[in-house]
């Protein structure tokens, strides 16, 4: 699974958890245009959010 696919799977889960799909689709579309470090930063932020929201 490449970075974009991994990112998409996280966002899919977040949408299931009630996150705003419009905003997440924005980030999904933007993601491939980011540099590697920017991708990592964004992925990390969303992954952490997913981990925390999963506890609810």
């Amino acid at each position: 699974m490449n970075q974009t696919e991994k990112f998409k799977s996280i966002l899919d889960e977040l949408i299931k958890l009630g996150e705003n799909s419009q905003e997440l689709n924005f980030w999904l579309a933007l993601f491939p245009h980011l540099s590697e470090s920017e991708q990592q930063e964004i992925l990390s932020a969303f992954t952490k959010e997913f981990e925390r929201l999963s506890h609810f």
């Binding site: 905003e23 924005f26 959010e49």
Partner: protein, 200 residues
């Protein structure tokens, strides 16, 4: 009531269990968690826009850039004379990048706002409201400086058109990164029409 007031003596089993005291993160509400993430991702977007646009702004001298931008948006000079190659210019203007750069430069030079990028960057998470911000803050100042009313209406219209458009924000970002800076001469007003012709 504090935990200690229960006066619970741990059983033997309890001593072998991992500590159950929740950390601060698990105490946050869903809204707080989402907001925290939004702040992080907005900061990334802000950095991207800042680095892209600051580089371009540094090549464009002074407030004349804004006047030049207005002329491009209108397709005519301030005195009303029509610019040549209007259709092609209009097509360029349709790129959100120019509207974006125009709004940003206007804020920077007319209002002295150095944190415009931050405001713009925050919108990725806050509802794509930058256009409204720009229209409200910039247009009155341009009007005060004597640019014609019809100019304001048209520029405001372009900016308002961008409001709430996810696709347009995407296009802006893409254009901001890839916008051909050599499209303009050292003086922003002097649009290099030959470059536009080549792209036709």
């Amino acid at each position: 009531m504090s935990f200690e007031s229960y006066n619970i003596t741990p059983s033997h089993d309890d001593e072998n269990r991992p500590e159950q005291i929740p950390d601060q993160e698990s105490l946050d509400t869903k809204e707080e968690i989402i907001e925290e993430r939004q702040n992080k991702t907005a900061a990334v977007l802000s950095k991207i826009l800042e680095s892209s646009l600051a580089q371009k702004a540094s090549k464009i001298p002074g407030p004349s850039a804004v006047v030049g931008g207005l002329e491009l948006v209108l397709g005519r000079h301030a005195d009303g004379e029509e610019l040549s190659g209007l259709g092609k210019i209009t097509r360029i203007i349709e790129s959100a990048a120019l509207v974006y750069v125009l709004a940003d430069l206007s804020a920077k030079y007319f209002l002295g706002l150095d944190n415009t990028y931050v405001d713009i960057g925050a919108i990725g998470a806050k509802g794509l409201g930058w256009a409204s911000f720009a229209a409200q803050k910039i247009m009155p100042k341009i009007q005060e400086l004597g640019v014609k009313d019809f100019t304001l209406a048209q520029v405001a219209g372009l900016i308002q058109e961008a409001k709430g458009s996810k696709e347009l924000l995407m296009a802006m970002l893409s254009e901001a990164r890839n916008f051909p800076s050599d499209l303009f001469d050292s003086d922003f007003i002097s649009l290099n029409l030959s470059k536009i012709n080549e792209s036709d």
